[in-house]
Structure formats: C-alpha cells, structure tokens
Amino acid sequence: MNENEQTKHHAPGYGLFIGVWAALMVLTSVTVEVSTIHLGFLNVVVAMTIASVKASLVVFFFMHLKYENRTLKTMVLVAFVILAIFIGFTFFDTANR
C-alpha cells in the first residue's frame, strides 16, 4: 500500500489549511494588540496562552497530528509533558531560592 492510499481518506485539502492560516493571522494581530494594553504580569500569561493556541493549530493541522494514529499522538503528548516537567521543576527550584 503506498503513501497515497494510506492518507487519501483523511488528507486535509487546500481550504482547511487556508482557514487555519487565517486563524493564525487573526491570533497574531490579537497578541500584538493585547501587548499594548498594560496588564502587568498578565501580559506574559496572555501572550503565552495565545502562542500556545497558535502552536496547537500548527501541530494539529499543518503537522497533520490530528490525522495520525494514537501511538504518534501519545508520543507527542509525552514529549510535551517532559518539557512541562523540565520547565515546572526548574521553577520549583528558582522560585524558592
């Protein structure tokens, strides 16, 4: 079975990607606009939240993760959990010095 037969049933088309791109553009302008409002520490939280929404759109659609099997999805999840542990534990340390 070649690669085309393996993906043709669920491969996304041009329209979906253009829609995702439009959403990414909107989110980019939102994050730039929000940064001009002074919210103190919340600015960082809002910026990182919007960045993570954009990142999810890229990972699930552009990188086709939505259409991959459960094994690959789990692997990606584990990689990001490890990253979160890495970041989280660093802060447990540095925040309590």
Binding site: G13, T28, V58, L72, V76
Partner: protein, 198 residues
Amino acid sequence: MTEHRDYQGAKMGMWIFLFTEILLFGGLFVLYSVTLGRYPTEFHEASKLLDVTMGTTNTVVLITSSLFAALSVVGLQRGSRKAAKVFILLTLVLACCFLVIKYFEWSHKIHAGIYPGGEALTQWEPGKQAFFGLYYIMTGLHGLHVIIGMGVFLWVWTRIAVGTCTPEHFVALENAGLYWHLVDLIWIYLFPLYYLIT
C-alpha cells in the same frame, strides 16, 4: 527485489528527531524564563528596543511560508508535482524574506553597539546584557534552522523534479514540512517573548 518502504516509520523517526529539537529550544526557553523572573524591569526596558513592526512582519512571513509548505504536501498528494514545486518555491522565497528582515534587525543593533561585548551593551545593566545575549543566541539558532530548512526543501524540490519523491511516495516532502512547521512553532513563542514583553 522489492523495495522496502515504511511510511509510518519514516514519519515517526522525523517526529523523534523533532522531540530532540523541542528539548534543545526548551532548555533555552527555561533559561529565558528564569532570567526574565530575575530581571523583569530590565527585560521590559530592553524589549522596547526591538522593532515590533519588523517582528510582526516576520511572524506573518514565517506563518505564511508554513502555509505554503503544508499546501505543497496537498499538491503532491493530489498528484500535481507542478503545484508541489511551486509551493516549495514560494516557501523558499518567504524564508529568504524572513532572513533578510532578520539581517536588517541584527545589523541595525550591531551598528548601535548592541551585541555581546559591544561598546553600548557592556555599559548597560546585567539584565539587559542577558536579554540581548539570549536574543542573539535564540534568534540565531532559530535562523540557522531556517537556513537548514531551506536546504532540506531544495533537496526535496530536486527529488520531486527527478521523480524520486512522487504522489505515491511523498514522505520526504511531508517530513521536510514537519521540520519547517517546527521552525515556525518555535518562532510563534520567540516572537511574543522578545518583541511583546514590553
């Protein structure tokens, strides 16, 4: 002799490589966050010196290049080598735009003496020196990834042209796309952290 191909395995291998990239940049993001926690006011002041218009333009350029990379895979899946090649060239053109804008940003800063060891930067507070040190390392490493990604796309473009990457076996293009989207993903975080924390 029958050819052995493993489509799922090829993609999984690429993802495992991308995990190492995520942890490579992850380490730098941790360093950035800890330093931001230590020097919040200096980071705030230093970040104002970066040009938001140029940063936003580069974000739009890179996300759009990612769109073209994704569309090139659709083109090839639907049997059009020509569409795939055109979309790859568009990706490469935007990648060049990204690097040119980056070059102007960096050279402007370097002329003003704002670089590690530069005459202006060495006079400033340690927090601002840390900000610009991290800025050059992280955007520099990211820029290197853009250059490598362009090389990968040129290689895939050649493979499509000579017929070894085809509508039946397009995993090389798909993996090149995965690499490119990761580069885009990293920029999605770099952009607010450096340009918008003001």
